[in-house]
Amino acid sequence: MDTTSQTNADATEEVFYGLVAEYDSPGALVHAAEQVRDAGYRKWDCHSPFPVHGIDPAMGIRPTILPILIFGAGITGTALAILMQWWMNAWEWQWVSSGKPYFSLPQQIPIAFEVTVLLSGFTAFFGMWALNKLPQAWHPLFKSDRFYKATTNGYFVSIEAADKKFDRAATEKLLRGAGATAIEEIRYTSSPELRKVPRPIMGFILLTSVLALVPFAFIAKWRNSHSPDPHFHIIPDMDFQAFRGPQTTSPVFADDRAARKPVAGTVARGELKDDDLFYRGLDNKQWSTRFPPQVEISEDTMERGRERFTIYCTPCHGEAAEGNGMVHQRALAVNAAATGWVQPSKLTDAGFVRQPHGQIFNTITNGIRTMPAYGPQIPEKDRWAIILYLRAIQRSRNASIDDVPEDKRPTLK
């Protein structure tokens, strides 16, 4: 800190900054630094063209806290990246990618790694600048021509006059005693005029500040105006890819179809559906009256069936399978009689109770009359689960007192 220049800010005055001493080798510099350190000075520094090994302990510099800051920034980066990905992918906008869970650590490690490195790197870089009080555009030592050797082959110790221990004669004696080859006083003129930022630099700052606003101005303009021009494409070959969509033609093949059939005589993995009972509900070419062995008759299957039934069947057939779902009620509300509306089947009727499991399976798979096929939407196992649940509904709707366990009967009214 420059304490001597504060008396009258407007007046031009000469400031005595301190002494700078030159030494002829890195070894001599370290040696001198040790003596200045031991003499108890605080406001002083060493200057060399390259980092000198051992200068830190020689100057009595305490270990920097920078590593701890970097470690903290790194941990913050890891946590921030995981939190960000959890929020983006598992909370705010749930999105399945590659069939992985919404929140899945392996997927997040690369990003966590990158953010950790980014924050650590920034902290190391900018933290070093801040802790070194950089950037400094000018320094009183620049007044000395000799000092410019500090960037080539000069080794200097500078002691500020502002130091409490500073004494013009004693300090010079100390520096010379430590082997200085030259000693200089540093004086500079301080005036309000000199402390002003030079006009070209100020102009540059102003210009860049204004230019930095230009992109935002364009964004604001585009957001609030309409244009007849098409989008411009930064990466056109990604926007217009040479692939063929479904149901389109392709000049490559003789039949002009872009979608290809499987090669004759081959079956894709998992597509070999040779189990008649499980895939078609057939038992010895008859509608099966039993569930296939792949389907476990359990509480879990029942629960799965209830869930699938609620999703796929209730809109038409209703919660209790009585053919009065929301679609039916809506049809009545808009006067369906005029359009020939047929009410969905009441599945609790005796006819459906008697139907074999396999026949119902076939109906779900392929549809019947106005009911569309649900085979493409509902996997086989879920279709069987729906049948299981439907059987439970049918039984509950056609129940008698005999279905209630003996010990529970008294609770009924």
Partner: protein, 407 residues
């Protein structure tokens, strides 16, 4: 040492009588432990399967020490590095174990050659027959070609290690700086040979345990273990030698600090490579690639996988990060012992699921094999290089290394 005024005075530079004792200890441990392991393995009556897997584990573990040593020596010359010249001779002594490792490799090659199919699935003609992938790979994965490749790898390693040890010891007496220039010239092509041979050896010895599977980064994964090992070993051997009164002033806290830094960096490297290998396979999730990770993620082995992530990466990476740890030789030595332990654990995780894909199996034979192969490794290294100085006393860069300061 009148001509080496930069080597501290009265420094003890030779193993001396300790060499004889180490050789004796190593040989005894090798013969007794390996003998016991073989007898025990034969008594299990499983066609030596247990023994062979334990033996492969121990063999690849100590092979990684010697390979790490060779890597260290090569990279020192290649980069004209100065900081760790003070410990380079120790790495050269590690590489002197290659001839013994070559003899030990016969323990894997000879049973294969005579038709024992207890170790590798691809060596079992019944398993290969009708298996499309194994039939297609049979041109590469067969006993004669396996033996030829092993011969090639060990020839490369023995020639290189012999060359660098010999030239370095020669410089101890002649002090000829031209030898350093020569070694630097050779180190470039040598590094390429080292990289290729190490990667392929890792494919052959370890990856082919899961013969349907492949991972191009596998060699780098094994190399990461080699690199961790050598920096930990250098710190640990330095510590032990200094305890015995040798090299007390040549090796300073700065050298420990540097070894610790490299070990810590390669710990991260190991995790980086291991994760890169895992993540691509996990993301693609196709059967022929997932076959390696399936047992390691969905059986009892998943606990070992989890323990590796925490114990081989998280704990040591944070634990060894501080410079105060690395500049405290006894504390660093403890961490190095720990790292060498988890490195063994890592190889265990690679080898043993091939023996028992569902259950974690730990057997005293594992430890007997590690002790036995370790003993012979020690015997081999000390027999070849035990008479040499422990410091490359007239290396042109030694002076800089001795004065080296981390800042």
């Amino acid at each position: 040492m009148t001509t080496n005024d930069h080597v501290p005075a009265n420094e003890k530079l030779y193993l001396g009588p300790l060499a004889t004792r180490l050789k004796g200890m190593g040989m005894t441990a090798g013969v007794v432990c390996l003998g016991a392991a073989i007898v025990w393995g034969a008594m299990l009556g499983d066609d030596m399967r247990r023994f062979m897997h334990s033996y492969l584990l121990a063999f690849t573990y100590f092979l990684s020490f010697a390979l790490g040593g060779l890597f260290f020596v090569l990279v020192q010359h290649l980069t004209s590095s100065t900081a760790l010249v003070a410990v380079r001779r120790l790495a050269e002594i590690l590489t002197a174990a290659f001839p013994v490792l070559f003899v030990l490799a016969l323990g894997i090659v000879v049973p294969l050659w005579v038709g024992n199919k207890s170790l590798y699935l691809w060596s079992d003609p019944e398993a290969v027959h009708g298996d499309h992938i194994l039939e297609a790979k049979a041109g590469y994965l067969n006993a004669p070609f396996f033996a030829i490749r092993m011969l090639i790898y060990f020839t490369i390693w023995m020639v290189l290690s012999r060359y660098f040890l010999k030239k370095s010891v020669e410089q101890d007496t002649s002090g000829d700086p031209a030898l350093s220039a020569k070694m630097k010239k050779v180190s470039g092509p040598a590094m390429i040979l080292f990289a290729l041979s190490t990667a392929w050896a890792a494919f052959d010895l370890l990856m082919s345990l899961t013969p349907h599977w492949f991972s191009t980064i596998w060699g780098v994964y094994y190399f990461a273990g080699c690199a961790i090992s050598v920096y930990c070993l250098l710190a640990l051997i330095s510590f032990a030698l200094q305890k015995s009164g040798r090299l007390t002033r040549s090796i300073t806290v700065e050298h420990y600090h540097d070894c610790g830094k490299m070990a810590n960096a390669f710990t991260l490297f190991w995790a980086y490579i291991g994760f890169s290998q895992f993540m691509l396979i996990w993301a693609a999730n196709i059967p022929e690639e997932a076959v390696f990770f399936r047992p390691r993620m969905f059986t009892e082995w998943k606990w070992i996988s989890l323990a590796l992530i925490i114990g081989h990466f998280c704990v040591p990476f944070v634990g060894m990060m501080s410079r105060h740890v690395k500049r405290n030789p006894p504390l660093l030595a403890l961490w190095c012992i720990y790292m060498l332990g988890v490195h063994l654990f890592d190889l265990y995780w690679i080898v043993m699921p091939a023996f028992s894909p569902e259950k974690i199996v730990i057997h005293p034979i594992d430890l007997l094999c590690v002790a036995g192969v370790g003993g012979l490794f020690l015997f081999g290294a000390v027999s070849v290089a035990g008479n040499a100085r422990l410091l490359a006393v007239r290396d042109p860069n030694l002076k800089t290394s001795l004065r080296f300061i981390n800042q």
